[in-house]
Amino acid sequence: MSELNLTSAPTHLRHGSSIGQPLTRRDGILKVKGQATYAADNHPPGMLFAVMAVSSIAHGRVTSLDVAAAKRHPGVVDVMTPDHKPRLAIDPEIKTNPFVFRMEVLQSNEVRYANQPIAVVIAETLEAATEGAVLLAPRYETLPALIGLDAGESYVPPVVGVGNPTENHRGDVEAGLASAGKQIDSIYETPPQYHNAMEPHAIVAAWNGDSLQIDMPTQGLMLSLGRIAELFGIAPDKIHIRSPFLGGGFGSKGLMSGPPTLGIMAAKLVGKPVKLVLRREQMYGPVGHRAPTRQRLRIGADGEGRLTALDHHARTVSSTFDDFYEPAADASHTLYAAPAIRTSHDAVRVNTGTPLFMRAPGEATGSIALESAIDEMAWTCGIDPLAFRLKNYAEVEPITGKPFSSKALRACYEQGAARFGWSKRSLQPRQMRDDAGLLVGWGMGTATFPALMFQAEARAVLRRDGSGAMEIGAHDMGQGAWTALAQIAADELGLDIDRVEFKAGSSDLPDAGIAGGSAHTATAGAAIHSAGAAVIAKLADLATNDERSPLFGAGNAGVIARDGRLIRRDDESRSESYPEILARAGVAEVEARGTGAPNPAAMEEYAMHAHGAVFAEVKVDPELGQVRVTRMVGAFAAGRIVNPHLVKSQLFGGMIWGMSFALHEEAITDRRSGRIMNANLGEYHIPVNADVPPLDVITVEEHDPHVNALGIKGVGEIGITGSAGAVANAVWHATGIRVRRFPIKIEELLT
């Protein structure tokens, strides 16, 4: 991506290190000027436009398509259907690895959910392709659709999430509940939610013989590349994917889905480059979503308010043809020190696209239920919700008994509560009003998200002109990888950030692993760290083995890299610049590779999680039931903060999504047809600016020597957890009404 002209206007003072500095995003100017090239901005010569026709029934089969009518429309070049399409090398129904999910790529005329692609019209203009898709006028044989959490017989799935056990327990839950002085038994429901990243899924695919050039937003360059190679039967090195920028991913662009595959097929069919971009409403089906849940929480506590048992069961759904189960109950594994914990899941199958990852899958749905239930329990015990959480503070991970690699949650509670003014909260609900008579309520929730890591590789280069390069196929989804990873690269290379050419977002670079699980900065950062160390070691070898160098004899361990120089550790007056070392050695550059990966030994020994505490204030109109969040404070401990500015934005985004979860977001599914009736941004409500109150984020200092060499835990998803519950609990505190079905609606508050 050498054509990218990134900036790093130093709005900050350097303290000898890039890591930890609040750099503004280096791709920001490109973006505000409209110069950042997103996938759909590419127009290779001769490109045609593809538009998907999608199913309006949720179950059945397509019995006819008026292909002739579509083809007669001026500008239409071809219509791809189950009977007329390029052959794939393998059946897309075959799951070749656990990260392969089934997709609809016209393999049959069967319809498994509404909005499933059933044909693709390829035309010279977007308008012609769009009209062609309408002219197909599909006819169907409609079969009854399975809809909702009670659609059929439930079953216990083999695993939930990515390979998590369906059930977990520690201690005797029934005994714990039986011995409890106080108990609650509550059922919470969360709705289906759909991805609405600003940039819809898009692809520009161009075949050149048997090689393939792709522009496509992806959170997993190598996973996508591997899947495309397998589907089209071509060698991975024949495929090049560019994904310099994503207009948001949130889990929906992690794995190869049907629509971009159809774009590649269409390009093959017509022998020309093809662009396929999803319409907003087409996002509600083939690209994953957050499954609905119904969660039952049974909690017991003794006379002192100490938990005796925590039982968390989640019902969820998967599609009729594949398996992904929102691991909602797992949220109860890590936060509260109950001596007996049981978590379990069951599921029913429904006619939807397969639910998949959506920002904090399992953690978000589980957290709003758990945090509401803990709030109910605190109230039942007559204890302030913060005091109750502190009483049940987990010193070790409750479900495993492992110590935490680090856990500054107490500090989060303290700093968040102090900033919010929590100590002035009344225990009783419906006690506070503002000057205008609106009910005021304060609520809190605990945030948590696991500190994960995947595998990654990076390549580092130091050049004779004093510059360096760091190459890694990392993904910038808007979170700021172009900036944060370059900051790490600069430090690891001992160079100013402006002297480092940072390359990312392309599949011909070393594999950065998937940008998901809030693990990207940690994983890619670890690879950059080791590649940097390796290239510095090579450079040091050149110097310390050369009699002519002032560093001669210092040995590898005896030098440090700083400001483009190697410096003797024990005598800082002796140093040499990188260009001097390389020039004398007669080499143009040195290069080295490094990898990042989780440390199995540390994982065995420690529980690794980020934590946080979120406090929210809401106002509710006492007669009209409309709710508005007026203040939120979140304090988060997530290990080392590479860039406080970007981290704050991530956490803001998470907190806003949490409030959206509590108050706004819901896909409304027609109870008979299974179609989603609000598949547009006008009616699928997410918060608008006027809904978002002043947000205050505190990042709490935390040093974690175990998670990875850099001590990074990740902040991508944690912001939703805790926040949704905090808002819901604040609504209860304002009104005295406990709403257990989310999002909270006006009618629930009309008493």
């Binding site: 309006s56 009209e131 109109d621 008979r672 179609r675 600016n689 009309l750």
Partner: protein, 351 residues
């Protein structure tokens, strides 16, 4: 996209002639029409673009004290016209509570009046909808109908009219000026929108080719400026249609209500003028009890059309609140969060 003719008439007469042809529709700012075309809900053969017609974009005060608003005045320009906002504050507040700033900048007065329902089944061409396709059935009736009508609906259609603007307009006896094939005529706004009955496919009393050229507020409409409010409950603070809304305007003389105007939005296929409730308040002291009584009267005929019984109670409460706010007096400035229950929140930013 379906191919269609696009014509840009030079005069109103040409426009009417062009739009009277079968398959022709007027295009104003297109903020509703183009969405409907993209979704295949509306598939016109010919668009008659009226945005270049002369003389339809003025706000004039007439000699008799009425105000004439050209059909092409944008929602934003009208709301921000200082004299207009002062004289008809509830109308300005309603306008500013609608859609988003971008949409209000584009949307026209005529288009706002004639915007179509937001019933999701009307938008979903795979659903049966009597309004979209006469006689096909109504999938909303047994479907997801939490936000549908509680007044004036029929078994054929339970959709609501979504406009905010129309609610205070109908309360103030606005008149619509129309140019049609047989020349100029006018009708009360209250008569423009139709209740569904057995023919929900007809939204309005307009005939093919009829062009709205202006909306007129009669002289009496100014008399309510001191006590006029619009209140809109919605599911987020801004950029959402009303779940229920109300416009209340009072003329108070010597501590007694001399005249009341009351209309509800989001509950019927037309902006709902509540005349019985207005009558109850004639000559009484503005008290909570009186407003309760009026609210009760306003909703006597209401009945749920689905999962929406809550809208009846909510509507009563909104009526009481809107009357209470109106009685308290029009604020000197339109609140930063217009028509919102949170309008009093300090520090809010204009939306």
């Amino acid at each position: 996209m379906k191919q269609f003719d696009y014509v840009r008439p030079a005069t109103v007469a040409e426009a009417v002639a062009a739009a009277a042809q079968p398959g022709a529709v007027y295009l104003a700012a297109g903020t509703n029409l183009l969405d409907l075309m993209k979704g295949g809900v509306s598939r016109p053969d010919r668009l008659v673009d009226v945005t270049h017609l002369d003389g339809l974009d003025g706000i004039e005060r007439l000699a008799d004290g009425s105000l004439r608003i050209g059909a092409l005045v944008s929602n934003a320009d009208l709301a921000h016209d200082a004299d207009f906002a002062k004289s008809y504050p509830a109308v300005a507040e309603a306008l500013l509570s609608g859609a988003s700033a971008q949409l209000r900048n584009a949307a026209t007065v005529g288009g706002n009046l004639l915007q179509r329902t937001r019933c999701a089944y009307f938008y979903d061409t795979a659903s049966r909808c009597n309004k979209r396709e006469a006689g096909s059935g109504c999938d909303a009736r047994e479907g997801e109908n939490r936000t549908h009508a509680v007044l004036g609906w029929s078994e054929s259609c339970i959709a609501t009219h979504p406009s905010d603007f129309c609610v205070p307009l109908v309360a103030l006896d606005a008149i619509v000026e129309i140019e049609g094939r047989n020349g100029r005529r006018e009708m009360a706004l209250d008569a423009l929108h139709r209740l569904p009955g057995n023919s929900p496919e007809r939204d309005s009393a307009l005939e093919p080719g009829d062009l709205i050229v202006a909306v007129r507020l009669p002289p009496a409409a100014r008399g309510f400026a001191a006590h006029a409010r619009y209140l809109k409950v919605r599911e987020r603070t801004s950029y959402a249609f009303a779940v229920v809304s109300a416009a209340a305007a009072l003329r108070i003389e010597n501590g007694k209500i001399a005249e009341t105007r009351l209309a509800l939005g989001g509950i019927a296929a037309k902006p709902w003028r509540a005349r019985v409730a207005e009558d109850v308040l004639m000559g009484v002291t503005p008290t909570a009890d009186a407003f309760q009584e009026a609210a009760w009267r306003a909703l006597t005929d209401a009945k749920p059309s689905g999962d929406n019984a809550f809208k009846i109670e909510l509507a009563r409460r909104i009526v009481v609140r809107a009357l209470t706010l109106a009685a308290a007096g029009t604020p000197a400035r339109i609140p930063a969060l217009p028509a919102s229950p949170f309008a009093s929140t300090s520090g809010a930013i204009h939306v």
